[in-house]
Amino acid sequence: MAVLVLAGTRKGLFLLHGDDARTRWELEGPLLTGWSIYHAILDRRDGAVYAAANNWVYGATVQRSDDLGRTWSRSEQLGLPEESGLKLEAAWHVEPGHESEPETLWLGGDPGVLFRSDDGGSAWEPVAGILEHPTRDRWHPGAGGLCCHSIQLDPGDANRLYVAISAAGAFRSDDRGETWTPVNSGVAADFLPEQDGPPEVGQCVHKLLLHPERPERLWQQNHCGVYRSDDRGDSWERLDGNGLPSGFGFGLALHPRRPDTAFVTPEEGAENRVTSDGRLGVYRTDDGGASWSLAAQGLPEPAWAAVLREGMASDDLDPAGIYLGTQGGSIFVSPTEGAGWIEAAANLPPVLSVEVARTA
């Protein structure tokens, strides 16, 4: 087996090929030159690679490769209906569908939209339950636009999925995407005018992940803290009071088997978006977020780096590998669950996303 890292950058897609030790890496790319790759992922169901690709002149598309990046085909149909009054501004995140739906994919985009494809990514239909959500007039774009960046499927229940939109909040569907319930109870939105408690929607989720071994557990790195939910998003507990230098950040990764272990990369704050304390610091919790400790051996210091919302990932090996891409163009890998880091690639264009997959 081998490990493949897909690094989406502002100037194309790069692939890093490593063995199971994950200490030596070969760089391939750039692929899809001319495109900004907001996110790329290998679909473990059939080995296809999908890339959410954007060009400032030619717009947003999804590219698919069936030969690990040698050749690509572009989605044929992707856009918003004229009656919506909206146009697709960017393609943000591709998520392969449930195992029971092998041709289905999901795509998140700006302005706060979700698409579904049932033909392997050629034609995409906007999901009406998100496009016409009754709270949409209370959603507000952030610095990255009104981006639907997180799509998480419940591996045990094909009816249930989650999306997160900045700044609209997190939403859950229990009927395969037909209807969507805001799940933001207890999540702060300090940037909104003072009101009696957190609002129903409008939270700025930076990244949302579901733990595959315990799918009722969700984690989110939010504009206003790190949170965990153990009841499918119905309630959230804020976690950044013990050991994290800041609750603000973007990157989030989960241990593939241990639901209490998570990794974040805090930043100074919303008005100074650089890594905290002048170092590229990954922080790890092993107790569900009750406490955090620095896991940065091998990461640069001093450093004022930035890790974007798609910039962290984990693999499913033992020990688990944790991956980190920076806007400075580096890919860092920890083959030891955060105990030590190596720089697998440097001087790439700004890294927008990191995903990892196993290949034969």
Partner: protein, 85 residues
Amino acid sequence: MVTVLLPSLLAHESGGRNRFELEAATVGEALRALPIRNLIFDEHDDLRRLVNVYVEGVDMRDRGGLEGRLAAGETIRIVAAVAGG
């Protein structure tokens, strides 16, 4: 017959072809016949804002826009606006 010339990214997305010879009466008809139509027009069939089109070296806006008539043998060139970083 008219000729349409594509910039490199659009040529790549057209399977490597940077030149198309088409039968088209108007600029819009020629552009909509291209295999990269959905890259130069958005989902509401509006030409994307940063796509510039020249007919015989003249900005199509000065020749009637997408409805501008074409004469046999004319050449259309698609140029990405100077933008980005």
